[in-house]
Symmetry: C2
Subunit: 417 residues, 2 copies
């Protein structure tokens, strides 16, 4: 089916809403967020009923238990979504912040002011809480949003959007500020990706496949999020106990997220001392180990790693391990196989720490800490719409300021050029 | 012909160079810029000879005199290019600037640091000075650049690139930092636009058609530059003498640039007083006038404007003129037909000035000044790679900081999550 007409209309409504949102006072936006939070809790039964239909369809379609778990709503998850909105209400409004103001020799006064991006399209997968998060963050930053969730969660998303848009409008948010694409047909995504007239940016959140599709087909500017082939390099001078804790945490604490470690690089000088116990602990935790020939000497459970392993984001309890001869080799490996997400070195050497921080090209580079900290909340931003792995506009965890643009305001008294 | 292999090689060389450039000391970059400036002047004869071939081909192809003028190099233009590089050398190095640093409750210290974007592709048209400007700005910001100039200037561009890359390398700039695509085949552009593995951003500079092609075909993030359907709104309370100066300047001082005015909006209350002399002055200056029926009453030379006129970037001595009933109507017109570049109001009314600044969605919004000031030099940035008309990453005049990204550097002492 051709969704262009339907999406044109949604886009046009969003653009009109965005004009009003851009100058809406902070207290109206905050009241809307609080209303939305309350409404989610008040309409819990409706949301759970819609979610039950998604769960039933999901089971019938044979979704994996981990996908079903992501899809599931319950009382505490609805409470968490509502609390998330209340947290967003408590954050400072980024819109209107003056980033600088200066006077030119000709008397012109030029100010650089934060403004909303305009209309944001967000394309995401299974978890229905993204619907609430994304709507809340976009609203606080003064943007209209067009949401396109995964087909598995369509009933939940429709119910959530209905509840929150009604609550937002009661506080004075214009119609069209939060819209959901209600069809699950993939053609609708293709139509969305070409709505340059109305949308200012597309943010895909989800699998590598989804992100790739969006990047290849969108004529609207895209912020890529999320793919993380993250490394931890244990240097020759590392505190080995610390290195083991960091490596274990980076792999095991939550293997399915993008800031989890996928490859462990170990300096040859301490490999014999470090690897046997570190690998044993990972093995005991159920981690499948794949290593270079040298690594395999240190633990019988290590299977041979192929070249593909170095480039794979497992998102699972699987770890690639490689012994390297020096820092240079570790840097080369990371440059060749890393995805510019999060990279860590464990070292006591000042020069190596400094060189790693300077030379590694990634959104977040760590010395003596777990890559798992790459996260908007852990960074202190109070919120997160995703983690950008591109270099344009935003890099790393994206909070409210990353959902804004700027404009120059110029005060004159008759200047001509 | 298939240029993928050739461009893959250029991309790979650029990416290797970018890794080295990212940590290159400022003094080496500055020395390279000064070397490049000197070399342009030393090899003036070579450059003029190459340019003469382009001019000859251009005349044979029947290029317009304005295109031939853009293409032309002479002693003073070469001096200007060299001086431009010396100015870039004198600007502060944006790379390494710490934009913020904070400590988290768990003891992690997180810093936000400016880093180069990486590899930038620049696609542009006739003027050979863009080759020098773009190479100099990208180099200073620590980026490798792949240049693709217009076919008309190919001999000039090849000669310039040869001279400046040799001079840069003599100062210690890595091979591959500045590269030109030497074929004029359009297929090479299509191949360039899909080099995601190597390029971080594409900046098109030129006609609306060029920019459209790049936006539609690039899978690499794009910064759109330049299209400007700029308005000046003369409010009821305007100082009419000031308004005439500003309008005249915005249209006539340099009509072929993107910050020139294309449409004049006039409040009905002062139309009869303002328009006759303002239109006469523009008419005397050779401006073709196209107006709404009301405008046409005030000067016999005004032809009827069509709906297309409101949406057209003339880049020429042509002006569309419309009488509006109030500020609201002016804002609606600008929202409907503006390209978010530069918009001005001439007024003595405080509330109207404030409302115009807040509600107009454009890169630069002016009160009582000519839109012609939207320019990196006029804004005090010391340099300009173009004027972004999109909202992502950079908006308005782009100087050196707009050619950078950021990364987070995180100092820990064993933190795990």
């Amino acid at each position: 089916m051709d969704y262009r007409a339907e999406l044109e209309e949604k886009g046009s409504r969003a653009k009109q809403a965005a004009r009003k949102l851009a100058t809406l006072p902070t207290n109206i936006k905050n009241q809307a967020l609080l209303n939305m939070a309350d409404a989610l809790e008040e309409h819990q039964e409706t949301l759970l009923a819609a979610n039950a239909r998604d769960m039933e369809n999901g089971r019938a379609k044979g979704l994996s238990s981990s996908l079903l778990d992501r899809l599931l709503l319950n009382g505490s998850r609805i409470k968490a979504m509502a609390d998330g909105l209340r947290q967003i209400a408590a954050l400072p409004d980024p819109v209107g912040e003056v980033l600088g103001m200066w006077r030119r020799p000709n008397g012109l006064e030029i100010g650089k002011v934060r403004v909303p991006l305009g209309v944001i399209g967000i394309i995401y997968e299974a978890r229905p809480n993204v619907t609430v998060d994304a709507a809340g963050l976009c609203l606080k930053a003064g943007n209209a949003v067009i949401l396109r969730g995964g087909s598995e969660a369509i009933n939940s998303n429709i119910a959530i959007t209905k509840v929150i848009t009604r609550a937002a409008q009661a506080a004075g948010i214009p119609e069209g500020a939060i819209q959901l694409i209600e069809t699950t047909d993939r053609q609708a995504v293709n139509a969305l990706l070409r709505l340059n007239r109305y949308l200012d940016v597309i943010i895909p959140r989800g699998s590598a496949g989804l992100i790739q599709t969006v990047v290849e087909n969108s004529t609207i500017p895209v912020i890529e999020t999320g793919i993380g082939v993250c490394h931890t390099f244990v240097d020759a001078s590392a505190d080995l106990a610390m290195a083991q804790e960091i490596a274990f945490n980076a792999k095991v604490s939550r293997p399915a997220v993008c800031n989890a470690m996928e490859t462990l690089l170990v300096h040859r000088a301490i490999a014999a001392e470090f690897l046997p116990s570190a690998l044993e602990r990972l093995h005991q935790a159920g981690v499948e180990l794949r290593g270079c020939p040298e690594t395999r000497r240190y633990h019988p459970a290590v299977k041979p790693a192929t070249d593909e392993d170095w480039a794979t984001e497992y998102l699972d309890l699987i770890l690639a391990v490689k012994v390297v001869g020096n820092l240079e080799e570790a840097l080369e490996h990371i440059a060749a196989y890393g995805t510019r997400h999060s990279e860590a070195i464990v070292t006591r050497d000042y020069d190596n720490a400094r060189r790693f921080l300077q030379e590694v090209d990634a959104a977040a580079v760590y010395v003596n800490a777990s890559t798992r900290f790459t996260d908007g909340f852990e960074f202190g931003f109070g919120a997160e719409i995703g983690i950008s792995t591109q270099k344009l506009h935003a890099r790393g965890p994206m909070g409210l300021p990353e959902l804004t643009s700027i404009k120059y305001i110029v005060y004159g008294n008759g200047q001509i050029r």
